[in-house]
Amino acid sequence: MKILVVDDSEAFRKVMIELLVRVGFHDIVEAKDYEEGMQVFRKERPDISFVDMILPGKTGVELTKAMLSVSHETKIIAMSSIINKKMIREALEAGAKDFLLKPTNEIALNAVLTMWSD
């Protein structure tokens, strides 16, 4: 299973990738913003994409819509360091499957991956 992590913080991406490896996922790609996210998404076609909702330039909601217009197969998990219900609802309406609060932890990550990995 291939996983994409899109977040502008390199430190967060590193922590997230370490967590993903710890819970048993090793095929991971990363991107820092909308443009790089779409580039990697088109090339790698990940099964699950973790997308930060607050990105420099175009937002995570826009990225979610763009990714799903390329492939409906991917499952997108929205992420943010704040729980803004309006933003979460916008992300779910855009097609995201779930939401994770940053920083995340093994239990929360495992629950989401158990729910959405086939």
């Binding site: 819970v23 704040i82 729980i83 219900k85 979460i88 779910l92 779930d98 939401f99």
Partner: protein
């Protein structure tokens, strides 16, 4: 006495609107959990996730939070709309509990648990309570609320900064509660 009657009653609690996201934390009803962390990110994530999602039987869990952080800040950061939030502070005001008045704190927590069996309490700010009271008094308060938690099948989450306590105090805090680990049980 006026202070007690004005502040002791918790505001009516209502469930948060569901977010349509996954229930990430399965905490056992009737149990209290110590979460060793600073800042209390995991505790708040678990609390918000539980009050914003349905349990395995499709029921909504009602929550109440007590925190050293101002209730407006908590509502803003975590999007809690209907959950009662009390601010631990020495200032007077609505939904404020003085850290030195453990009686009111106990009463507020116990009353919530009795009125909302199966509910969840987040008690953040133990370090502040201990800096304003004798440790043993705070421990007795927690133990007292914990008895009601067990009886009412409620859940209590207590984030604790381990740097603020010595090993004996931590052991006493964790004696009647479960230590919450973010590492999944194998």
């Amino acid at each position: 006495m006026g202070l007690l009657s004005r502040k002791a009653r918790a505001p009516a609690a209502a469930g948060e609107k569901g977010l349509g996201i996954t229930r990430k934390y399965n905490l056992t009803p009737g149990h209290s959990y110590v979460v060793e962390e600073s800042p209390p990110d995991i505790s708040f994530d678990a609390f918000v996730n539980i009050v914003s999602t349905l349990d395995s039987e499709g029921k909504r869990v009602i929550g109440m939070a007590v925190s050293r952080q101002h209730s407006d800040l908590i509502r803003q950061k975590y999007g809690l709309e209907t959950t009662p939030i009390f601010w631990l502070a020495t200032r007077a005001g609505q939904d404020v509990i003085s850290p030195t008045n453990l009686g009111i704190l106990t009463h507020t927590l116990v009353q919530f648990v009795e009125e909302h069996p199966g509910g969840i309490i987040l008690l953040d700010g133990i370090e502040y309570l201990v800096s304003n009271n004798d440790f043993n008094k705070v421990l007795r308060t927690i133990d007292q609320v914990n008895d009601h938690i067990s009886q009412s099948q409620a859940i209590m989450l207590i984030p604790v900064d381990p740097r603020a306590f010595d090993s004996k105090e931590l052991a006493l805090l964790e004696r009647n509660m479960e230590k919450f680990s973010t590492k999944p049980k194998k």
